[in-house]
C-alpha cells in the first residue's frame, strides 16, 4: 500500500510512517533535552489576548487565529496586562454583563487582531518561534511529544 498524505511536508510524512508502523495507540513520548524539532506547544487561553503575533511567526500554519472570541477566558486576563485595549474590553464587559457568557462570540471575517488561538499539533515542528514572540506568556513549551493527541488530530482530519 502506498502512503498518501494530505500535504507533502516532511513532518506529515514522518507521522504517516509512524501511523503505518503503529500497532497500538501511542502515548506521550519524552523528548531528549538536546533534540530539536520535537515537543509540544501549550497554549494558556487565560493569558492570551489573541493578537495573532504567534500566527504570523508560524510558517507551518500550525498556529492560527480562529474566528471565535472567548469571553470567559477574557475575564481571567491578568489585570496588569500590557494589552491595555484588551484589559479595557474585559473591564467594560464585566461592568455591562447581566448574565454569564456561555458561548464564544463569532468574529466577523475581516476583523483583524481578535479571535482564538488554534493549535494544530500535527503540523508543529517545535521551532518555538511562537513561544519566543508571545509577550504575554500565553504560550509555553513542554519537552514531550504528544503523539496520542497528534494521532487523534490526524484521525479527525481524515
Amino acid at each position: 500500500m502506498s502512503i498518501t498524505w494530505v500535504e507533502k511536508t516532511k513532518r506529515r510524512y514522518l507521522l504517516e510512517l509512524i501511523r503505518k508502523l503503529a500497532v497500538k495507540t501511542p502515548e506521550i513520548i519524552p523528548v531528549p533535552e538536546e533534540l530539536h524539532g520535537f515537543g509540544t506547544v501549550v497554549h494558556d487561553a487565560d493569558k492570551c489576548i489573541a493578537c495573532g503575533s504567534c500566527t504570523r511567526m508560524c510558517e507551518d500554519e500550525a498556529i492560527t487565529l480562529e474566528g471565535t472570541f472567548d469571553l470567559k477566558s477574557l475575564e481571567k486576563l491578568p489585570k496588569d496586562t500590557n494589552a491595555k485595549n484588551r484589559a479595557l474590553l474585559a473591564e467594560f464587559i464585566a461592568k455591562l454583563k447581566r448574565k454569564e457568557p456561555e458561548n464564544p462570540v463569532p468574529v466577523p471575517e475581516g476583523l483583524l487582531g481578535i479571535g482564538t488561538i488554534g493549535l494544530k499539533l500535527s503540523r508543529c515542528i517545535a521551532c518555538k518561534e511562537c513561544v519566543r514572540i508571545c509577550e504575554y506568556e500565553a504560550l509555553s513549551f513542554k519537552e514531550e511529544w504528544n503523539l496520542k493527541d497528534i494521532f487523534a488530530e490526524i484521525q479527525e482530519e481524515s
Binding site: R56, L71, N85, F92, L96, R98, V105, G110, L112, Y136
Partner: protein
C-alpha cells in the same frame, strides 16, 4: 493653558431657540472665558474673536456656531496663535432641528460645549511636517496616455517617460484607422512622438523597467534598469503617473480554437492586418471571403466579470473596413454597446450589410483540413446556425497590461476586483490613486478609447502638476503614534491599513533579542484611525482622536447630561467626519426636525471606532449608541466603514452573549444627501429604548 469659548447666534437668529444667556452662565461656572458674537462669518466677527483671544490669552478655542465646513478654514487662517480648535455645531445640529424645544436645545448646547472644553484640555497641538517636492514627474508607460501626459506636463516640469518596449506608442502602434472618424492614428502618433523626443524637458527611457521604488510622495528615488544597454540608473522624482494600459487577454483556455488553429486570431491581430492594408488567412496567405467576429470573449463571465467597453465599437469599425474591402463580416454579440455618437457607426454597419447575430461564441471546431466550423445560437430566434468562416476574430477581454500588478504592489497601490488599479474616490478624485503623489492615466484604470485615454491622461497631468506646485508640503501630523512599550509587534495595524502606511521595523533590544515594532509613515497615512480601533494593546493611537480624547468626551458628555438634569433617554452618536457629519449638517440645513436626545462625537472615519469605544458609552450610561458612517462602498478611506460594520456586528454578538440588549446599538450608512436616514435611525433607536427601558448601568 486657557481654553476659551466663542459662540455665535448667527445674526441673532438662533437666540429665540438657544437661550444664550443661560449658556454663558453655565460656561462661566467652569471659569472658561466666553464671548458671544453675532457675525462670526464676517471679517468684523473674526476681528472680534482675534481681540478676545488676545485679551484673554487663549490657547485653545471652542467655537459654537454653524458647521465648520463653512468657517473652519477661515478661522484657522486668521487665528494662528490658537493651538487647537473644537467645533460645536449650534446651528445645524442643535437649534434648527429642535426649533420647537428651546429648553432642550439650550441644555444640549451647554452639554456639547462642556464636552468640547474637556476635549480641548486633553488634545495636544498637532505637529506639522514640511518637506520639499521634487519638481519632476515620472510617467510609467509610453502608450497614448503616457505620451499625452508627458506632453502636457513638459511645458512646466521635468518629465521622465519609461517604456518597457523598444518603441513608444503602446497598443496604438498596431492600429491603422481608428474611430472616431477614421483617423489615421499613425500620423498622429508619429507627430506626438516627434514632439516628445524633441522636447528637452522630457527624457524617454525605452526597453526599461523599474526595479525599485523608494521614498515618499514628493521625493521618490526610482531605480531603472535597461538590460539592452546594460545600464542601471537612479532618478529622483516628485510625482508618479501610472499609464501602464491594457492588453487583449489570450483565451487559450476556452474551446474557441485559439492556439489550435492559426486562423483564429484576436481583434488586435486584425487591427494590425488592417493597418498593413492586407487582411489574410494566416494558414493560406489568401484574402478571406468571410470573417466571423466574436465579441465578449473571456469577458462578462466568470473569467472577467466586467464589460471591456470599447470592443463593440472597434469590432464594428473593423467590420465596416472589411466590408468595404469586399470581405463578408459577421458579428456575434451579446449586447451591442456603442455609446454616444458611435451609435451612428453601428447604424452605418447595418446599412452597409454587416450581419449581426445575437449569440456568444461557445466553440470553434477545427476540421480535418483546417477549416473552421462554428456553431452559433441566435438567441433572438432560437435558431442554431453552423458557420464556416475563413477567419475567426475574437474580441477577448481587455485586461491590465502584464506586469502592472507587480508594479502596483511596488507602489503600494490597491487593485480593484477587476485587477485594474483602484482610484481613491471616483466621485471627487478620479485620477488620484490610493497613494498621495501617484496618479492614474488611461486604461490602467479601466479600458478606455484613445480619446478617453488622452483626456484622462491630461487630467492626471493637471493633478500631478497641482501636487508639485505645492512646492513645500506641509501637513498636520494627524497620524497615529505608536507606544513602543505597548506594541507587541502583532502587525494587526499593518494588515488593516489600506494605504500601506504602517511597516513593522525589526529592532534589537538589549539582550540581543529581536523584536518587531510598528512604525507609521506620515506621508502615506490619511488619518482614518482604523489601526487604532483594531490594535489589541492600545499602542496605536491616532493623534487627537486617541482613546483618551474619545473617552474624555464620552465621560464629560454623560456627566454634563446628568448635571443638566436631562430627563429623556440618551443616544450617543459616533459620527464620521465625512458623509456622516455632513449628513447631519444637511439634516439641519434641510429643515428636518428630530428628537433632541442625540449627542454627537466626531471621529475622522467610522473605522476609528473600536469595540471598547462603543462599550465605554454603555458603561457611562448611554441608553443607545448610533454609528453614523459612509456607505461601505464609498468610504473615503477605503476600508474604514467596512471595519465599522464588522465592529458593530461583533459588538452586538458580545452584548447578546452577556445579556445586554444588542438592539441598543445601531449603525446607519448614509451619504451626505441622505439626512432622512439619520433622522429615521434616531427615531428607531428611541422606539428601541421605549421597548427595552433605560440603560441598567446608568
Amino acid at each position: 493653558m486657557v481654553v476659551g469659548v466663542v459662540i455665535c447666534d448667527c445674526g441673532e437668529k438662533l437666540g429665540n431657540i438657544i437661550k444664550y444667556d443661560k449658556v454663558i452662565n453655565a460656561i462661566q461656572e467652569l471659569k472658561a472665558p466666553i464671548k458671544k458674537i453675532s457675525n462670526l462669518c464676517l471679517a468684523a466677527g473674526i476681528e472680534e474673536i482675534k481681540k478676545f483671544v488676545e485679551s484673554e490669552s487663549i490657547d485653545k478655542l471652542v467655537v459654537g456656531a454653524c458647521t465648520p465646513k463653512f468657517i473652519e478654514y477661515t478661522l484657522r487662517q486668521a487665528l494662528s496663535t490658537v493651538l487647537e480648535f473644537e467645533f460645536v455645531i449650534l446651528r445645524e445640529h442643535i437649534a434648527w432641528p429642535n426649533k420647537a424645544e428651546p429648553e432642550k436645545a439650550t441644555k444640549k448646547a451647554i452639554i456639547l460645549l462642556k464636552t468640547a472644553i474637556a476635549a480641548l484640555e486633553v488634545k495636544a497641538k498637532i505637529d506639522q511636517e514640511k518637506y520639499e517636492v521634487d519638481q519632476s514627474v515620472l510617467i510609467i508607460g509610453g502608450g497614448v496616455a503616457g505620451i499625452q501626459a508627458a506632453l502636457d506636463l513638459a511645458a512646466n516640469v521635468k518629465v521622465y517617460l519609461i517604456e518597457k518596449d523598444e518603441n513608444l506608442g503602446g497598443n496604438l502602434r498596431n492600429m491603422g484607422k481608428v474611430f472616431p472618424g477614421d483617423f489615421l492614428i499613425q500620423e498622429i502618433l508619429q507627430d506626438k512622438i516627434k514632439q516628445l523626443e524633441s522636447n528637452s524637458n522630457i527624457t524617454v527611457y525605452k526597453n526599461t523597467k523599474i526595479v525599485d521604488i523608494y521614498g515618499n510622495p514628493g521625493s521618490y528615488e526610482i531605480t531603472l534598469e535597461t538590460p539592452s544597454v546594460n545600464s542601471t540608473e537612479i532618478i529622483k522624482t516628485g510625482a508618479i503617473i501610472v499609464a501602464t494600459g491594457i492588453e487583449e487577454s489570450k483565451p487559450y483556455h476556452l474551446d474557441l480554437g485559439y492556439g489550435k488553429s492559426q486562423d483564429v486570431i484576436l481583434q488586435t491581430d486584425l487591427a494590425r492586418m488592417l493597418k498593413d492594408g492586407k487582411v489574410v488567412v494566416p494558414s493560406t496567405g489568401k484574402k478571406p471571403e468571410s470573417v466571423l467576429i466574436g465579441n465578449c470573449i473571456n469577458c462578462r463571465d466568470e473569467n472577467h466579470f466586467y464589460c471591456s467597453k470599447i470592443c463593440c465599437t472597434y469590432s464594428i469599425h473593423h467590420a465596416i473596413e472589411l466590408i468595404e474591402d469586399g470581405i463578408e463580416p459577421i458579428i456575434c454579440y451579446m449586447d451591442i454597446r456603442t455609446p454616444y455618437k458611435y451609435e451612428n457607426l453601428y447604424r452605418e454597419a447595418r446599412e452597409k450589410g454587416v450581419t449581426f447575430i445575437r449569440g456568444k461564441l461557445q466553440s470553434v471546431e477545427v476540421g480535418p483540413n483546417n477549416e473552421l466550423i462554428v456553431p452559433v445560437e441566435n438567441t433572438l430566434t432560437n435558431e442554431i446556425y453552423e458557420l464556416s468562416p475563413d477567419l475567426v476574430v475574437l474580441s477577448s477581454a481587455l485586461v491590465p497590461a502584464a506586469g502592472s500588478e507587480k508594479l502596483a504592489e511596488m507602489l503600494g497601490l490597491n487593485l480593484k476586483e477587476s485587477c485594474f488599479i483602484s482610484d481613491l474616490y471616483s466621485k471627487t478624485n478620479p485620477s488620484q490613486t490610493t497613494q498621495r503623489g501617484i496618479f492614474l492615466a488611461g486604461s490602467a484604470f479601466t479600458p478606455m478609447s484613445i480619446q478617453e485615454s488622452m483626456s484622462h491622461a491630461s487630467a492626471a497631468a493637471v493633478k500631478a502638476l497641482k501636487f508639485l506646485r505645492e512646492g513645500i508640503l506641509t501637513r498636520d501630523l494627524l497620524v497615529p503614534t505608536i507606544d513602543e512599550d505597548l506594541c507587541n509587534g502583532c502587525a494587526t495595524c499593518r494588515d488593516t491599513c489600506q494605504f500601506n502606511a504602517i511597516t513593522m521595523i525589526v529592532q534589537t533590544n538589549t539582550d540581543t533579542e529581536i523584536v518587531q515594532k510598528a512604525s507609521v509613515d506620515p506621508t502615506k497615512c490619511r488619518g482614518c484611525g482604523t489601526c487604532s480601533a483594531v490594535c489589541p494593546t492600545g499602542a496605536t493611537q491616532l493623534a487627537n482622536y486617541q482613546r483618551g480624547v474619545i473617552f474624555t468626551k464620552i465621560e464629560t458628555m454623560m456627566k454634563a447630561i446628568k448635571a443638566e438634569k436631562w430627563e429623556e433617554p440618551v443616544i450617543l452618536a459616533l459620527t464620521c467626519e465625512e458623509c456622516g457629519s455632513c449628513g447631519v449638517d444637511i439634516a439641519g440645513l434641510a429643515g428636518f426636525e428630530y428628537p433632541a436626545n442625540v449627542f454627537t462625537i466626531d471621529v475622522p472615519c467610522a473605522g476609528r471606532i473600536g469595540v471598547i469605544d462603543i462599550l465605554k458609552a454603555f458603561v457611562e450610561g448611554a441608553d443607545a449608541v448610533l454609528i453614523v458612517q459612509c456607505p461601505e462602498k464609498s468610504c473615503h478611506y477605503m476600508f474604514g466603514s467596512h471595519n465599522a460594520n464588522l465592529v458593530v456586528q461583533f459588538t452586538k454578538d458580545i452584548l447578546t452573549e452577556i445579556g445586554f440588549e444588542s438592539s441598543r446599538l445601531a449603525n446607519v450608512e448614509m451619504v451626505s444627501s441622505d439626512p432622512d436616514k439619520y433622522v429615521k435611525a434616531i427615531q428607531d433607536l428611541n422606539k428601541v429604548i421605549e421597548e427595552v427601558g433605560s440603560n441598567p448601568n446608568k
